[in-house]
Amino acid sequence: MHVTFSPEELAFQEEVRAFFRDEYPEDMREKRDKGMELDPEDQIRWQQLLHKKGWAGINWPVEFGGTGWTPVQKYIYATEEANANAPLVIPFGLSMVGPVIYTFGSEEQKQRFLPDILASKVWWCQGYSEPGSGSDLASLKTRADLVGDHFVVNGTKTWTTLGQHADWIFCLVRTNTDVARRQEGISFILIDMKSPGVSVKPIILLDGVHEVNEIHFENVEVPVENLVGEEGKGWTYGKVLLQHERANIAGVARSRYRLRRLRKQVKSSVRGAAPLSGDKNFMRRLAAVEVELKALEYTELRTLAAVSSGKAPGPESSILKVKGTEIQQAIDMLYLQAAGYYALPYVPDQYRPDFADQYVGEEAETQSSLRYFNYRKASIYGGSNEIQKNIIAKHVLGL
């Protein structure tokens, strides 16, 4: 039992560090450090740089073009990625549908879809939730009826993150209503967003940002070869995907980066005020979150160490999701509190590259409230934290 890195791991850390130093584009770094969102084109450019390096499929097995990294290597990578404040890859292709296809898809599907996912040539989005099916996902009503050699899809998916940019969507759809359990009769299918009958309607979140969408399917024809795995087994595949998603949204390395930045921020004076680091109550709250995060860092490492490369972690990943999002939200609250009055100005344009007017407040202050509002989603998405606790109670505690 030891906590230090081996010489090989240290060499790997050096390689990753050098990559982010040398290959992470300066223009993106500047945008991100100023709190601006990246354009989809930026995001794709970055993911293609990762692909060139062979680092697009972090969690993928080597045989499908992944890195085959050990949990410690993934940990090192996530740490350096966060320290560089580089963007996370958009998860829907690389972290979600990719693993489902290489685990359950046909040979033809693997060859058809995996290379483009790795190369970020195709933007994927997720069709799980529906207006009437949130936590109770198995109640989903979107239908795919087999007519000849294609399915006809009708229904509505919602909370589709970045669906406005997507080329393809993976969906859980009902292919059979005559089943004993609602979890049966659900299938996992891949739909080209350009298909006639697909329409995208934006949903604006409470911070004013267009991030999610409602997707309508009206008599959309989907070739039968776009069914992944067996008809009616989609629930099983979807669960595997969700476990990947849950482990990924713990966000330990990002949280650590944000806490370290906050520690630095509160040591300096803002507009002549005494540094917040003199406020013992604030510093105690900050320290308490640091302890929780350090614990989660090692909980994640322990969980991942128990899982071999390319596989999804089990229901334990729900613990990472709950704790990880609680910590993210606690950090959001710390930033909000650190901002004081200057959490209030709402001037979203000042984070656009073409903003020519006068800035109000400091970026860390005025972004704090927007981030706080936006990330209330964290304990709701990926299966709400209450649903995670149901999963843990049932599958880990046997209740």
């Binding site: 030891h2 640091e290 614990a295 709950v322």
Partner: protein
């Protein structure tokens, strides 16, 4: 980075688990706790025979050459069995001080007999006024020719009533809170002027208040250099803090498991109470705390064992978590057991009491949080 136990640790863990399963049922524990000394001399002999008392000492001293990680492996299991034997007092506190500052003759004399189980020992790590500041020492040691004369009081001396040897930090110079000017003395309990008032503690263990009234010692009682005992004291208390955190994690796991089991067997309204979502989520929280505390314990213990610059933060972090979330876990275990949880007969109550005692020791959660906030 690696979290697995090595072969030797596996064997150690295995032998302790077997011992607890076969010979340390809860009612046996209660019998030992209620005895005169508060532990079983026979069990302590077994500890020595199995070599458990030698773990954190160097091979040169006749030890097992183990480190904090090995002690963690042991203490976690002692926690699970809720053992009352004075491993902390003898091995971690007294032995830990002696191994750091005892000279060859002192280690030969004292450490050998601690490891063999023949000698009971402890460290008087605090004073009635000191709260959690180990440097706050009002007990004085004045030179008198080649002798030293000690006067003062020590509080909560674990195993004090049974100890043959008590290591006593005393002030030989400086102000009451100074880290420098503290000297460590190895004092036989039967030395004239030592008055020991032994008592029970709430967790079923034993401690003593100690009064030193012109206790005269020869120069060879001094452990280490005159006036610079603080470093050894501090490092020993860090080890002890990690050790009781490991014990706490063992206790927490038992409390969580027992609560989950109970919720499956206890029926109300015609169904097991474990089927209620309000209770399920609370048990999930208990599981999460166990996982988080285990993780932090591993990190902290490895960090200290490897001598990292983060060692102090690591110790404070795990003690803080044990004292907050861990304590809450104990309260939840009692609550979910309902009326049974507040009875003397139920083991859960005794695990909870030990967990509570641990929260109070070597700096409570607030004290450690203040260190982390600085």
């Amino acid at each position: 980075m690696d979290f697995s136990l090595n072969e030797v640790q596996e064997m150690l863990a295995d032998s302790i688990e077997k011992f607890i399963d076969n010979e340390y049922a809860f009612d046996t524990r209660q019998k030992y706790a209620a005895s005169e000394s508060g532990f079983s001399a026979d069990v302590w002999k077994t500890f020595a025979e199995l070599g458990w008392t030698t773990v954190p000492f160097s091979e040169d001293d006749g030890g097992f050459n183990g480190d904090q990680v090995d002690v963690m492996v042991m203490m976690q299991r002692f926690g699970r069995g809720l053992l009352v034997e004075p491993f902390l007092a003898n091995i971690v506190l007294a032995g830990g001080t002696l191994k750091r500052v005892g000279n060859a003759a002192q280690r030969q004399k004292w450490l050998q007999s601690i490891m063999s189980g023949e000698l009971q020992a402890t460290l008087a790590f605090t004073e009635p006024q000191a709260r959690y500041d180990i440097a706050n020492i009002a007990t004085t040691a004045a030179a008198d020719g080649a002798d030293w004369v000690l006067n003062g009081q020590k509080g909560l001396v674990f195993n004090g009533g049974s100890s043959d040897l008590i290591i006593i930090p005393a002030r030989t110079s400086g102000k009451q809170e100074d880290e420098s000017g503290i000297t460590l003395f190895a004092v036989p309990a039967d030395t004239a002027g030592m008055s020991i008032n032994a008592y029970h503690t709430v967790d079923g263990l034993r401690a003593a208040e100690l009064t030193l009234n012109d206790v005269r010692l020869s120069g060879d009682a001094v452990l280490g250099g005159t006036g610079d005992g603080f470093a050894a004291l501090d490092a020993t208390i860090d080890d002890a803090t990690l050790a009781i955190c490991a014990e706490a994690v063992g206790i927490m796991q038992v409390l969580k498991d027992k609560t989950v089991e109970y919720s499956k067997s206890r029926s109300q309204f015609g169904v097991p109470i474990g089927s209620f979502q309000a209770l399920q989520h609370r048990m999930v929280d208990m599981l999460t705390v166990c996982e988080q505390a285990t993780s932090l314990l591993l990190w902290a213990t490895m960090t200290v064992a490897e001598g990292s610059a983060e060692a102090k933060r690591a110790v404070s972090s795990v003690k803080y978590l044990v004292g907050t979330s861990g304590q809450t876990l104990g309260e939840e275990a009692v609550q979910l057991h309902g009326g049974m949880g507040v009875t003397w007969d139920l083991d859960v109550a005794h695990y909870f009491k030990r967990l509570t005692a641990i929260s109070q020791l070597f700096g409570n959660a607030d004290w450690h949080l203040d260190k982390l906030a600085a």
